[in-house]
């Protein structure tokens, strides 16, 4: 059964269209992340789910109930906010209990719940403190505790980790994921951080300009992006986009023509690019698909090595990012540190076209085609 259904939800203020018809649906127990750049409408969508804003049109169903007309308190939801929104005048215990108190949960039950939550989140020793006396990470835990206390049908997270420092963010991320695995709650999680979206979500909805660009599993979003926006937004460093022309390749297949200071070469595509033969397309290839040359792999289909000029080397530790230039476009490769070339000279880079994708140069839409059968 689906725990949350969003059906053709639109939101506009006058002529400003914040959401342009959103359709999403997840089953109970799943973790959905809404990701997109700021201003894409993801927080508005979350507020609409919560009932804090109302949609201009469309329906929200929680469980099988249409909640459009219900106020937030009647929607059986809990929410964790970016700023934590802990009530500053109440101590941690009161913060956690506030919602239960309003709902007139019996005192004994309240105490039991606080105990359970505090143990689960390891905040037993903080119960009598005021929010001002807590660190960022502790506040984050309390905010989650407050949401968990009521055991609602649906949890909403609004960029809950954005205010934490980088290290804490990573550990809290893992904790949230663990918590979800243990409690099997249904979660909608808004973030602008694509890594958070990838690591946490069972499903990801990538939003931009008030529209869902793609909705799918992290794997689908990463490896099978619907359009250039999604391909660009997900992944760090982002995918390389190289404008190029489709040509026939040596082995009856098709390829794309690459040009740089050192000359031309053709990258063989794994698919049937016949409809675009002679036309211009955009090749999308992730940095990790352009690596140092591994001789044993050069025989594989779609894998080839080419000498490329090195413009810049950025060591990240585990590997080094090498910048080169192809078709007058900056192209990033991810190579083993000891193989990285010297700026100003050239090095051999191995292109693996098996996961490469192609986009329409004007619309940015993904070009779909049949895979060619192995020769």
């Amino acid at each position: 059964m689906s725990a949350l259904t969003i059906r053709n939800v639109k939101k506009s203020f006058g002529n400003t269209h914040i959401l342009k018809g959103i359709n999403l649906s997840i089953e109970a127990g799943r973790f959905l992340t809404l990701v997109g750049p700021s201003g894409c409408g993801k927080s508005t969508l979350l507020n609409i789910i919560a009932g804090l804003e109302s949609p201009s049109s469309g329906e929200i169903l929680i469980g099988d109930r249409n909640v459009n007309q219900l106020s937030p308190k009647d929607r059986d939801i809990a929410m964790v906010f970016q700023s934590y929104a802990l009530y500053p005048n109440m101590n941690v215990r009161k913060n956690i209990l506030f919602g239960l108190e309003i709902r007139k949960v019996p005192k004994a039950e309240q105490a039991a719940i606080v105990d359970r939550i505090a143990r689960m989140l390891q905040i037993e020793n903080l119960l009598d403190r005021k929010p001002a006396q807590l660190s960022g990470g502790q506040r984050q835990r309390v905010a989650m505790g407050r949401a968990l206390a009521r055991d609602p049908k649906l949890f909403l997270f609004d960029e809950p980790l954005s205010n934490l420092d980088a290290k804490l963010r990573v550990s809290m991320r893992a904790e949230i994921k663990q918590l979800h695995q243990r409690l099997k709650t249904t979660i909608v999680y808004v973030t602008h951080d694509q890594i958070e979206a990838m690591t946490l979500g069972d499903y990801i909805a990538v939003l931009n300009n008030g529209e869902v660009q793609q909705f799918g599993t992290p794997d689908a979003i990463y490896n099978d992006p619907a359009n250039r926006f999604v391909a660009d937004f997900i992944g760090s460093p982002p995918m390389n986009f190289i404008p190029c022309e489709v040509v026939g390749s040596s082995s009856q297949g098709f390829g794309v023509k690459m040009t740089h200071e050192g000359g031309d070469f053709v990258l063989e595509a794994s698919g049937d690019l016949k409809p675009w033969l002679g036309k211009h397309v955009v090749l999308g290839i992730r940095p990790e698909q352009i690596t140092h040359v591994v001789t044993s792999r050069l025989d594989e289909r779609g894998v080839s090595g080419h000498a490329c000029p090195v413009h810049l080397c950025e060591p990240t530790g585990p590997d080094t990012l090498v910048t080169t230039s192809i078709n007058q476009t900056k192209v990033l490769a991810r190579v083993r540190p000891d193989t990285a070339g010297t700026p100003g000279q050239s090095m051999d880079l191995m292109f693996d076209m098996n996961k490469a994708v192609f986009f329409d140069p004007t619309t940015g839409e993904r070009l779909r085609f049949q895979l060619l059968k192995a020769a």
């Binding site: 059906r7 959103i22 459009n68 660009q213 793609q214």
Partner: protein, 330 residues
């Protein structure tokens, strides 16, 4: 695959564990009855905030805007001791601008307002800057500058009236201290009496300016000053070129507040000079009061009130407009 067509739901269906076509058979009717049940409460919730501000809205509508219109109407009648509602055109305004006393009141307002604002600002900024120099007794001094703010203009007027009484007050003090030639008769001198109001007004309101500017000075980003210091600027230059210019909004607010105090000044004049000698220290506010309430000239009083309103709104509305706009953008 294009943007967000219903296709996306199908995308879910492709995934494992999903119940296909779940969306098709929703018990929508059931949901709707529930909505209806909660509808009334939801509506109340929606209306409650508006209900709460409604009384203020109505009060403002009637007692501010309605009354302005009422006064405006009265200013076009021949009302004297009792209001009459027969339209009489601009007769009261003609009378007003033909009145020597009204002209004196307006000139006094310009003179008093101008000096009052100028001296308060100059003195206030000076004191604020000096107080900002890590003064050991800053707390005590601040209290001393600020306490007149707590007083009524009537009290201020009473105190200064006593001190400026010729023959008994300051004059006598100076004589006893050996300056026997000292005369100070401004209070009873029609040409100079308006300046006594400036003196008392400045005494009362400068503390406010000090407080505003001190807060402004303390609110300036230290980094800017450090940067200027690194660039080689000296203290004087830092104040004149960086700090004071960056307090522009404070200047603006202060100017508005002081101007407003000046226009409204009524109590101070009443207590200090009563508008006299003669009507040499009349301000529009006392003029209006005199004509409307002691001379039984309601029409003329209303006309003078409307002119005052026009003057104030001419200054304030652009300010309010920019203020509200600024807040919306911020």
């Amino acid at each position: 695959m294009s943007k967000s067509e219903p296709l996306k739901i199908d995308a879910v269906i492709d995934l494992p564990d999903n119940n296909p076509k779940d969306t098709a058979n929703h018990p929508a009717t059931q949901a709707r009855t529930e909505v209806a049940k909660r509808g009334r409460r939801g509506t109340l919730e929606l209306w409650l905030p508006k209900l709460v501000v409604a009384p203020s809205f109505l009060l403002s509508l009637v007692f501010v805007y309605g009354f302005i219109l009422w006064t405006g109407y009265l200013s076009f009648t021949k009302s004297r001791l009792l209001p009459k509602y027969d339209w009489a055109g601009f007769i009261q305004y003609q009378k007003l601008w033909a009145s020597e006393r009204w002209w004196v009141a307006c000139q006094n307002l310009l003179l008093f307002g101008g000096l009052f604002i100028l001296i308060c600002l100059a003195l206030g900024v000076l004191i604020a800057v000096l107080l900002d120099q890590r003064i050991r007794i800053e707390g005590t001094l601040r209290t001393i500058y600020l306490y007149p703010m707590a007083l009524s203009f009537i009290v201020t007027g009473t105190a200064w009236k006593w001190m400026l009484t010729p023959g008994l007050g300051l004059e006598k003090l100076m004589h006893e201290w050996g300056w026997t030639g000292f005369t100070f008769d401004w209070l009873v001198n029609p040409d100079m009496a308006i300046y006594t109001i400036v003196i008392a007004g400045v005494w009362q309101s400068t503390g406010f300016v000090v407080a505003l500017f001190l807060a402004g000075l303390r609110g300036i980003d230290d980094a800017i000053i450090k940067a200027a210091r690194v660039d080689g600027a000296g203290t004087w230059r830092i104040y004149t070129r960086i700090i004071i210019p960056s307090l522009r909004p404070v200047f603006f607010s202060t100017f508005m507040i002081l101007g407003h105090i000046a226009v409204k000044s009524f109590d101070l004049v009443m207590a200090l000079t009563g508008g006299g000698p003669g009507y040499s220290t009349d301000l529009p506010a006392t003029f209006m009061y005199t004509y409307a309430f002691t001379r039984g000239q309601i029409g003329l009083g209303s006309a003078s009130a409307m002119v005052m309103l026009g003057g104030v709104l001419g200054i304030v509305l652009p300010y309010l407009y920019s203020e509200l706009r600024g807040k919306n953008h911020g």
